[in-house]
Symmetry: C2
Subunit: 480 residues, 2 copies
Amino acid sequence: MGDRSEKGSGKHKRRTTIAGDAVRAHQVKRGGAETLRGQVKEKEQRHETPANKHNNHRDAGDDAFSCHKLQESLLSSNSGYSNYRGVLNWCVVMLVLSNARLVLENLIKYGVLVDPIQIISLFLKDPYSWPALCLIIVSNVFIMAALYIERKLSVGSISEGTGTFLHCINLAALLFVPAGTVLILTSITPVGGVLALSVFTILFLKLYSYRDVNKWCREIRHAKARTLSRSHSCPSVHKANGTTGYTHVIYPANLTHRDIYYFIFVPTLCYELNFPRSPRIRKRFLLRRLLEMVFLMQLILGLIQQVSPPLLPVPLQVPNHFIWLIFFYWYFHSSMNFVAELMQFGDREFYRDWWNSETIPYFWSNWNIPVHKWCLRHFYKPMLVKGVNKLGAQLAVFFLSAFFHEYLVSVPLKMFRLWAFLGMMAQIPLAYFVGRFLRGNYGNAAVWMSLIIGQPIAVLMYVHDYYVLHYESAAENTAA
Amino acid sequence: MGDRSEKGSGKHKRRTTIAGDAVRAHQVKRGGAETLRGQVKEKEQRHETPANKHNNHRDAGDDAFSCHKLQESLLSSNSGYSNYRGVLNWCVVMLVLSNARLVLENLIKYGVLVDPIQIISLFLKDPYSWPALCLIIVSNVFIMAALYIERKLSVGSISEGTGTFLHCINLAALLFVPAGTVLILTSITPVGGVLALSVFTILFLKLYSYRDVNKWCREIRHAKARTLSRSHSCPSVHKANGTTGYTHVIYPANLTHRDIYYFIFVPTLCYELNFPRSPRIRKRFLLRRLLEMVFLMQLILGLIQQVSPPLLPVPLQVPNHFIWLIFFYWYFHSSMNFVAELMQFGDREFYRDWWNSETIPYFWSNWNIPVHKWCLRHFYKPMLVKGVNKLGAQLAVFFLSAFFHEYLVSVPLKMFRLWAFLGMMAQIPLAYFVGRFLRGNYGNAAVWMSLIIGQPIAVLMYVHDYYVLHYESAAENTAA
């Protein structure tokens, strides 16, 4: 009677909540989970006696007053319940309240320490921040180059080989020109350097995608021309495209300045001829995102000043983690949605539910969807097509990601320490360990732990090395 | 083209997550929510042109490379997404990490300040804590009284009127005897007093339910006897009740010592003749709950010592809120599940998803299900039957709850200040305000704010008054 039911295949039905989500029972996934109903169901199947049937039609007599039923508590891991929107709101409320206190305490202790206007004026007046801006303005040259190469290719005035060669030069220049400038110019600040290099990295990924998609379009055009298909002889522009009323663009018609600049400013790295468009700009949505951007930027700057170098011995983990979380929301939700709303860009999937990650790879493929999508479309899948096996392609993606992490950190700081690169590569054994030994909520906790503890260690390494390099040598110089 | 779509009836489909929940789109509920798809759908319905249809069958040419689709970000309130189990895990990880730091810092600063053994020995050796224990032992008399009254009633040796009268005396004694004892005996500590009164209050509610259900059973028996139904002439005990293999008990057979004590120890306030039973005791589940109980008890005691009176000026809100949250989990999840598992009690719904409350009444009717169920079954519904209107009955429930809150606080502290009573009654205008002006996530944030800020104020009131009363008068006495 008391034997162990290993299946736990019971499906729990919970009343719909006020937020009203339908809950899926995911006991099936969890091998040995034992649930109350699972046990009971098995038992019922084994003991299908007349008394059992009687039970299903008990006399209304004393069971009319029945007010209990067999069920698990919501917080039990095998209840299958997962609607914790309220917990997210709790985090936001706690963040606001605790920072209100922090700001108040700071005001009482030090007066106005966190001065946002000072920071902005520092960026605008400081002559050192101009080179970064100049670099960003210069980037237009590369955009134009990509467009004109594609135009030449579309009319066939240069061969595919020449086109590929020119694109390679253009893309290589996109990485090396800013890196060289940042390394050579002593007047550029680390912050300016990071900003400039980020812009150029984004441009690199975008123009790579631009070139790929246009090449695919040409290939299809050739294939169609070969099969003498006449379907493309109809006008290339259709009025009133269903989704939005925008014109539907077909290959060579997309090679315009307007089109490429729309792609450059839109928050995605994957080029497409006809992006899904939202029908109108929702002003309240825009305003809310703008307020979030302004408020969270203040908060991030305030928190950074709090953990700034004079206070370095304070354990960096928790504030650093908070800064990362707020930065995530600021960049991937507020800012990207703001830009997308402004440009009526329809696809707002900038992140998925990485907070539920139970494995390391799930986290990496869901927290930054633009980059993940680009890697999948322009790096991973083409590699598979070329015959590389899956594991090799996955490792290559990690290697590429590690390279860019290092590029964005080492060059502006002018220190080649490989901490970022090693940090990324360390994800591979970590992923193996977590995937092998931990699952469910324990796996999720492990992913959080790696974020809370792992990431600040890498940051601390760079901060430490940077200060040793710049301030200790400065101290030695003044001493000598 | 750009006019406002007020319906927002679009239904978003999201890919199933790793935790794999099915997501319901709850835009329908939110009046003015504007969603991207909602807008588009409306537009499509209005512009059902041939061009539109063409769009549905676009040439595979350039749209084979399409990798974007119209969708909202998950964190947007109108995405309908609500799986944040990972955020809950994050909170737990942060709690563990931050408390590890707290414990470490304390150890470095003060040595072992939080000494759990000392607290336990204080409770056991202190002669002042015995009266509370004696009171709890005496409570058995009332349980026996209720059982014997019911036995007499079942065989008809006393009339219903006499039975009701005896029960009333018994129940009244359950409230007044411990209150009187606590007020008269100067040797009883506030903590002992709260414990004793809680036990008696729980007994009061349980025995009230016991009497009600047995009365209903007699009424049905009489009704059946009158209609000459012979369905009850069959034996009252059936073997192999379907759910668990336990015997199915019918009215007079339930009036045993074993049955009433099972009900007394089981974590519910509503009596039922045949509780749903879990088929076996899951030892791993039991052990995990036990470890949680021990660890969280330590944590609660440690946190209470942290905010203990000598450190009173520290803002109490946040630690008090944490203590409440941990207490909630400790009492309603760990302890109740532990007891239920031990007694093979099947219904583990001790709380519902109050963390998602968007209104104050939703919170009050979902955070404490045993009490909520009791109020509904034995107070609210009988009042409706007696012809009281709904609002009146709801206010009466709040009034009853306010009375018991006051009873449990004022009597042990021997201070009649009405803060708890007023705190409960203040929920009514607050509920009106939140329900009227705030909804969705804003409503949820308001509920959290009222918990974070409101509750500690009431606690602070009592703590303040208690110290003024006891320590200032003591100081005056020594001065005089």
